[in-house]
Symmetry: C2
DNA sequence: TGACATTAGGTGTGATAACACCCATATTCC
DNA sequence: GGAATATGGGTGTTATCACACCTAATGTCA
């Protein structure tokens, strides 16, 4: 019965429910991980959202993805992907091209420069993951992933 | 061996490591929970950060807290608490008063109006927590909390 | 006691996110 | 074939975030 988060947040009163405690633990842990991750990205000159886009587009290979497909694959909700891509295009990380068949579509692809940026981050990313999560064994990580997956399933 | 997140994000390739999969699961789940929570708050006219401040100040009772103490207790990093409190003060949710002994300190307290807002949200918050996490039993929630706490401990 | 460091709070400014709305192209269906 | 709808993308505007910097009050110690 570890009141670790309560201590961390110097909270005087106990949590109102186990569900609340779980909720706060999840959000808090994600914030800690995401903040550290962003710090790690800083020298490369990109944000967490931009890294995510690059990671996704690298996975899509040369096919690229349209804006909405990309938005749906992003880890976090992001209502303004257009201008995120604007900035990345300006930085030379991605390139956009209007589809010839369906002229509504604009396909975004990763550029050589963008690919170089993610590739060069691979080692630091792996190191960061080990640093933050490496002290849990495979069983623990597996259990955690299972529980989080269960939470995202509606009931 | 459920590739649930991979499906969710329509990712073609497997995760690079169990650590990465865990990291992405945590951040993704937190985003889902936090987004739903913000939607739930919308009718009350406050944001997630503002709710957090009100929740903390309610817990502090009449003592109130100074800005930095409040910042440290927030769930997520928030470098500009001053202007967050500016907005909340303007909305009549909190009140600030400079300390008489140490004139550097400004103590922020919840107002009656702010207290009414959080109090009236209690039922909806509890319902939201049940809706999102109620399908896990106490053992599962306990295990989850334990693992997340472990992650936040440096090694 | 007076220079220096520390702590608390705030400001200026540019970048980013959020929300509502708009335009163009495709599709549906009468 | 043409109005209605759906889909994809973008824009305008405001609020908020993030970072670097600034000022006032307190603490430290030669």
């Amino acid at each position: 019965m570890t009141p670790a988060l309560r201590d961390e947040l110097r909270q005087r009163k106990p949590f109102r429910s186990l569900e609340q405690e779980a909720h706060l633990n999840i959000v808090r842990t994600a914030a800690v991980l995401a903040d550290a991750f962003e710090q790690m990205l800083k020298p490369a000159g990109i944000t967490g959202a931009q890294y995510n886009v690059l990671r996704i587009l690298r996975g899509a290979e040369g096919d690229g993805l349209c804006r909405n497909e990309l938005r749906d694959r992003l880890l976090t909700r992001m209502p303004d992907v257009t201008r995120l891509l604007d900035r990345m295009e300006e930085a030379g990380l991605v390139a956009r091209a209007r589809d010839a068949d369906d002229r509504r579509l604009v396909t975004t692809r990763i550029t050589a420069r963008g690919r170089r940026v993610v590739d060069e981050l691979d080692a630091a990313v792996a190191k960061e993951h080990r640093r933050r999560l490496g002290h849990l064994d495979a069983d623990q990580l597996g259990t955690l992933i299972e529980l989080l997956t269960l939470i995202r399933q509606p009931e």
